[in-house]
Symmetry: C3
């Protein structure tokens, strides 16, 4: 090969537009499209496309980020804020959240038509607005609760240098912020959107809290990756937990047709002032009593008395000398 050809060989491939048309495969793509349409039609997914609206994941993320800006002005977002422009900026942001949230809620409501609940489009739009407004009215109270969560994080983590660090970058705090917003929407009866929000939190923090769970005040998850808090969990005040903790279900019930029962209480109740250490598992509708401590790696399948500390028995390890490695 000549020096020029060598050099040509060494050029990285920038994009395929240049070469993809040189080869005959593309001519056969219409066949692929037809096969796909046939398969979609067969599975009833074409009608589905047109029957009802679906929320936009991107818009939901945007709503959550804007709400973070409203609850903690100056921490997030690009605007340079000062005392003079804060009211204006806050008003603008709240108005934008209202619009976006009304739209997403309306889509979720319209989506419910799939399940046989006939809804008028205009009904959904009006209810979307009403529900969005209801949530925004709760913002001062949400701030009050979230402030306590921040303090709980600082008080519970020796590595925390201040409240700002918690607000700005603690994943446990971001997860609880999103959960509390989603939980309010859940209580308001908004379908689907609360779960979309908490699964977004799950994606960015590794913390999976179902919006149906009930969580009290001054709640702190440290580190957080792997935490699972199931749909019917109930958590009191001043509870702290660590990475990998599961509050899970146990022995799912089935009805006479062999279908899963849904909605019944199957997750734990955690009372006030409990601490649950890393990778502990609490399974079933048991109660961990007030002030109890569940040690790392403990698996709890029965209720725990208040004020007790449950740790794994001193583990009998096998200890042996390693041979040549």
């Amino acid at each position: 090969m000549s020096a020029n050809e060598e050099e040509q060989q060494d050029q990285p491939i920038a994009s395929a537009e240049g070469f993809a048309s040189l080869f005959p495969y593309k001519e056969n793509l219409p066949g692929v499209v037809d096969d796909m349409l046939t398969e979609l039609e067969k599975r009833g997914k074409v009608g589905h496309v047109c029957q009802y609206a679906l929320p936009s994941g991107e818009t939901v993320i945007r709503i959550l980020n804007l709400l973070a800006e409203v609850l903690f002005p100056g921490y997030f977002g690009k605007a340079a804020l000062d005392r003079a422009n804060l009211p204006f900026h806050l008003g603008e942001t709240i108005s934008l959240v209202y619009d976006l949230l009304a739209g997403e809620i309306a889509r979720c409501l319209l989506h419910e038509r799939q399940h046989g609940q006939r809804r008028d489009r205009q009904e959904c739009e009006e209810e979307g607005c009403a529900q969005a407004f209801r949530l925004l009215e709760k913002l001062p109270r949400l701030l009050d609760v979230l402030d306590e969560d921040v303090r709980a994080a600082y008080a519970g983590d020796p590595a925390a240098t201040g409240y700002d660090e918690v607000i700005f970058c603690y994943p446990g705090f971001r997860a609880i912020m999103i959960y509390r917003i989603a939980h309010e929407l859940h209580l308001q009866g908004v379908p689907w959107l609360p779960r979309i929000m908490t699964e977004y939190a799950h994606s960015i923090t590794g913390i999976d809290i179902h919006p149906g769970a009930t969580i009290g005040r001054s709640f702190f998850i440290d580190h957080g990756t792997g935490v699972v808090i199931g749909e019917t969990s109930e958590i009191g005040d001043n509870v702290r937990m660590y990475q990998g903790v599961t509050l899970g279900g146990f022995r799912f019930r089935k009805d006479e047709e062999g279908e899963l029962e849904r909605g019944y209480k199957r997750h734990p109740t955690i009372e006030d002032d409990v601490i649950i250490y890393a990778n502990a598992t609490v399974l079933g509708p048991v109660t961990v009593g007030k002030g109890a401590v569940v040690g790392a790696n403990v698996q709890v399948t029965e209720s725990v008395e208040p004020g007790t500390q449950v740790t794994i028995e001193k583990p009998r390890h096998r200890i042996k000398r390693r041979e040549n490695q």
Copy 2:
């Protein structure tokens, strides 16, 4: 300080462009650049830069998102779809995926030159197109399999309200969707790209499935954070698992030079109808037999008989009353 100066002090720092040039450090940056070039040269990384192309992480993510739009039209993406425009939209998206995928595959093939497998640039481009087309031909069959995964999720999770919720926001479902696409490319012999895809899934879901693993039909991972499914794992049909489950390797083998052996079967085989609960670990090329259940937190290092249930022995906990906290 005067009131004006106080106010000046209180202005947030918008960006450094204004002030960075006021201080002399920047004049010394060329020295830093030279040192860096010297170090790169020393490590043979300058030649590396020019020798072969590398895929674009951003483009790979875009390909995966577009494929999600094709497999589940209306769920993702911005387009307002209806019966009339769906075929057109589908065709356009499939065509775009083809171009992007052909380009990324071609880069991965060209990259293999590093390992001594001399490839002609044009060969790589043509093979990129062929491989992209092969994958797209499989889309109807992929949809069929993914549909079963959706149903398995709904049937296996009491918290699921419907198929749409699973498709739209379940991380376990997103991970399996990406894995199945990556696995097809792996079977087609495309280097590197499958692993880039599954590590992206890992980043957004916390679920780490090597594209070389083999997974049967109706597969469901609930919650998912922390799941690891190793390269040589084999999983049958109707298998369900929970967060924190590891199907891992055990006692790596080394050759005579002390180098790790690669590629041999070292991960578990999980037969049909198995359930593996949260944080269980299955290590080594063992078999978990058909219909078995592995309980939470169990560590399995030997094969498990079909139809048996393995749980940790009722843990002996230390339970004691807490003193003043």
Copy 3:
């Protein structure tokens, strides 16, 4: 309903701008804004907004991505690089990092004013530049160390096909790259920014390493989701660990006022050549001696002798036949 109305009903809801103004809720938003301002004022958060600057999460992410481009040119970023343009591209990128980093460091320093350390704005700007430059001077040495980490990954993972795969897509490698950059800034005394960086790494990899931890050379985390390495951990050379490993604190100390003590050594020391397998927990300021192996799921709360292997005792499982499922 007429056919037209049916069709109208079936149109997805595109956005709320069209309908949100049709309903009266929006007129009441100013009341919501006022309530929010009152709550913020009450909590002293309005003054906070104007008192000091805060870093930009988006800019920090951009800095980390640009540094990855500098350390591993050609792997990331969009530029088509070759031998001729590499010095120019490198110089441009390093200059941009300098500007952005100086700005973010200056903001972090100015932020410290909250904690009573009065700082002159110009002081912060100059120190921002000085600190940014100090970090950039370390880049060749950082590359040297990171190169060893890459080799450690390849040598420690049978599934790795080459160094490029590790650099491009291994989350464990991305986490250590970000940690090492953050740790240098931590050693330089830059407040807050190191933690922002490592929490970003935590978000995208599931690996949580405090920037205050000390980690030696040739370090490898495989899979990684759920790893927690606490603030005062010390790790030697040639250490390898797996997903779910916690190097955590134990029995937090409190001072006479009942406040948490901060900063004291409370996390483990891991000596050279140690391997820690999946989901093992090492708690407290204990030492895991040189060449030791901590098996999967082991909970260590006492020091481990060098050269020993600690595994859980062969678990006594309950094994029973499953009834009809």
